[in-house]
């Protein structure tokens, strides 16, 4: 074939060689297992808190995406992924409680970002008020599980923690309901107008949360709601039987870690199914060309509302989990910056792409909660030790700046996101019986690798 001749003419680049050798036969299995073993060992045998461990945690989470992209059997991917997430991470979490909190938050934001991705990435509806649905879920459980509820329904006792599970479903439904409610007024709007109106609606919810302490105290206003109920632990006897002695705090950390992991997995599953269905295709069609989409028989109103509802429902459920995890919520948690943060995860990772959105969420959360504060504190430590960093420079104040710079650089050099939506690849996996259209040849790989280098 012509492609093969070209390969001879043109010596393949380093990256092409690496890709072809690392992607063939048993090589990917060996490489990934080695990677997983090293990272796991580093985590389990050196569970200190510091910049080094930060990096290992980053490598650990990136490993998930390497496994996802690797040319290996599905069973291998699933087994390894499960071992890493369900065994290595929790054990590490017991040894070092700081990180499991961060990873749980990353999972939570990944699910939120996936929900927003349905609205923004799939259906192309720029929503700047997404955090409103998160707030609705959080306040829902916050009110019902605390004495707040007796202000609304006189005489009603706060619900016991075991109601939490039911409220995960109620949060889903209430989120979807608010998604439709806030979707209705913006149905006719496109682009910039839609963004501005959703921004306003998001602020409305936050302002309501701040001011609904009068005439009836529903949200407890700016003070927020504290002592929010938590679901009862049910694995304590198991730990005791195994002779493992961990504190209740740690048990809850593990509890929420697994819960978030479970909800995230369900979210991925649902979003993936929808994306590969007539509904997902209708959303993408609306995003691509609204007029053509209606002319092809897509009911615009119903499909847009469905996108809002589906996206908001995940946020509703995550809100319930968030309030139980934090046990305290107040209005500033749900401000515009949070909506924009979630949007930046979607854009950074790759709009419309499920793995991309999750990668974006992981990266932004790690930067936000772990890496940037760490860099700031390391710099501050250097400053105290007399390294000539001017004293007016307070690293903690500048971490947002660094984040902003990163976003700008990303958008200049990779505007489509880290793992962009790849419809062609998807389709190649779809039809097996036919001889699949040409896979990327080595020559093409080297071309793209070179253009990436150049």
């Amino acid at each position: 074939m012509a492609a093969d001749n070209r390969q001879v003419d043109q010596p393949p680049s380093f990256w092409a060689l690496l890709r072809t050798t690392a992607g063939r036969g048993p090589a990917p299995y060996v490489l990934i297992l080695a990677y997983a073993a090293i990272v796991s060992a580093l985590l389990l045998f050196n569970p200190t808190t510091g910049l080094g461990t930060d990096m290992v945690v980053v490598l650990f989470l990136l490993l998930m995406f390497v496994i996802y992209r690797a040319p290996t059997m599905l069973a291998f991917k699933l087994t390894l992924g499960t071992i890493l997430l369900a065994v290595v991470m929790p054990v590490f979490g017991v040894l070092n409680p700081f990180y499991i909190d961060v990873v749980t938050k990353a999972g939570m934001f990944a699910a939120l970002a996936l929900g927003l991705n349905v609205v923004v990435g799939f259906a192309g509806l720029l929503d700047l008020g997404y955090v409103a649905f998160f707030a609705v879920g959080a306040y829902l459980w916050g009110i019902f599980s605390t004495p707040q509820i007796s202000n609304i329904v006189p005489g009603m006792e706060p619900l016991h923690g075991s109601w939490f599970w039911l409220f995960l479903a109620i949060g889903l439904a209430v989120g979807a309901f608010f998604g439709v409610l806030l979707g209705l007024p913006v149905l006719r709007l496109r682009g910039d107008y839609l963004a501005i109106v959703t921004l306003g609606l998001g602020e409305v919810i936050r302002v309501l949360a701040t001011n609904l302490d009068r005439p009836i105290n529903i949200t407890n206003g700016a003070q927020g709601i504290k002592d929010i109920g938590r679901p009862p632990l049910f694995v304590e006897p198991v730990f005791q039987a195994l002779g493992i002695n961990i504190s209740r705090v740690q048990e809850y950390q593990l509890y929420f870690y697994f819960l978030v992991l479970l909800v995230l997995a369900l979210t991925v599953f649902v979003v993936h199914r929808l994306n590969n269905s007539r509904i997902g295709r209708a959303w993408t069609a609306i995003r691509e060309d609204e007029t053509a989409a209606i002319a092809m028989g897509i009911p615009l109103v119903r499909m847009k509302l469905l996108a809002f509802a589906v996206g908001a429902s995940f946020a509703g459920t995550m809100g319930v989990i968030f309030s139980a995890l934090q046990t305290f919520i107040n209005p500033p948690t749900f401000d515009l910056l949070r909506s924009i943060g979630i949007l930046s995860m979607v854009i950074l990772g790759g709009m419309g792409s499920i793995p991309g959105t999750m990668l974006g969420a992981v990266i932004v959360t790690l930067l936000d909660l772990q890496l940037l504060p760490r860099i700031a504190s390391e710099l501050a430590a250097l400053q105290r030790r007399g390294v000539p960093i001017p004293s007016w420079f307070d690293p903690a104040q500048y971490q947002r700046l660094l984040f902003g710079l990163l976003l700008i650089i990303m958008m200049i050099f990779r505007p489509e996101g880290l793992l962009p939506e790849d419809r062609r690849r998807q389709e190649l996996h779809h039809d097996e019986p036919e001889p699949a259209p040409e896979p990327k040849t080595a020559a093409q790989v080297s071309e793209s690798a070179q253009s990436a280098e150049g």
Binding site: L274, S277, T284, M296, I298, L306, P437
Partner: protein
């Protein structure tokens, strides 16, 4: 039997009357052309028929049903589909997906069925995929099915638009300048394809066309619009020699022919 009857259809944009009291009857199984100088209101007439615009006045009867004022998706579901003058594909989707989107009204999987992945949904998807491939073979695009629509050559994009419209299993297809911008060979192929729509699939065809050779060879009847008004209607040879038509065209200058935007 009349498949489509437009009665006294008028469409105004503010002070501008783009379509003025046009009545038109399309017989089932026919190939009909709508011609006229630039800005005559041809595309607007299509937009009214497909529900993109609501007519200011008049009624539209399709297949014995009053479809005036229905939503575009409802009209598509009833069996009218179209292509666009300036190609409007779903660019970031593959060729195959474009056709699958066209099938939307013929698929019935609901939200929960899709999430649960019921066997009915899977069977429906499989059948849809097969049908989409069939349609792509019909327009000779199957080998391109995994390409993104935006990467197709121009002529292929035009054919993909037709395949996408066919996916909704229409009784009537409206083609807005299907050969615009094509070279003579592509035009001949497109003409052939249009004829096959009727001969092999039994679909009634209405096309807007500027290329008079195409119009004269393919149409069984021709309707001429000028300034939104129907100025003539009849067999190709009648239209060719109709003085009002000649005046409408020559009055505008011959440059109006075939030159698109």
């Amino acid at each position: 039997m009349a498949l489509l009857e437009a009665k006294h259809v008028t469409k105004q944009f503010g002070g501008l009357t783009a379509v003025n009291d046009v009545s038109l009857t399309i017989e089932a199984g026919s190939i009909v052309s709508v011609i006229g100088p630039n800005g005559a209101g041809k595309t607007t007439f299509f937009n009214v028929l497909t529900g993109i615009y609501k007519p200011t006045k008049g009624t539209i009867i399709f297949d014995g049903k009053d479809i005036t004022g229905l939503r575009p998706d409802q009209i598509t579901a009833l069996g009218i589909c179209r292509t666009f003058q300036n190609i409007r594909l779903f660019n970031a989707m593959t060729v195959l997906e474009n056709v699958l989107v066209g099938m939307h009204t013929r698929l019935h999987a609901g939200l929960w069925q899709i999430i649960l992945g019921t066997s009915a949904v899977r069977a429906e998807e499989r059948a849809a995929l097969e049908r989409a491939r069939e349609l792509l073979r019909f327009v000779n695009l199957d080998h391109q099915r995994n390409q993104l629509a935006r990467n197709l050559p121009y002529g292929d994009q035009r054919r993909l638009e037709i395949a996408r419209a066919l996916a909704s299993s229409p009784k009537l297809i409206l083609l807005d300048e299907p050969t615009a911008g094509m070279n003579p060979q592509e035009t001949a192929e497109a003409t052939d394809l249009i004829r096959r729509l009727r001969d092999e699939l039994g679909i009634t065809v209405v096309l807007i066309e500027h290329d008079m050779r195409v119009v004269m060879t393919i149409s069984e009847r021709i309707t001429v619009l000028d300034y939104g008004t129907k100025i003539a209607e009849g067999l190709p040879e009648e239209i060719r020699s109709n003085p009002r038509v000649i005046e409408a065209y020559l009055g505008k200058g011959a440059a109006a022919h075939g030159v698109e935007r």
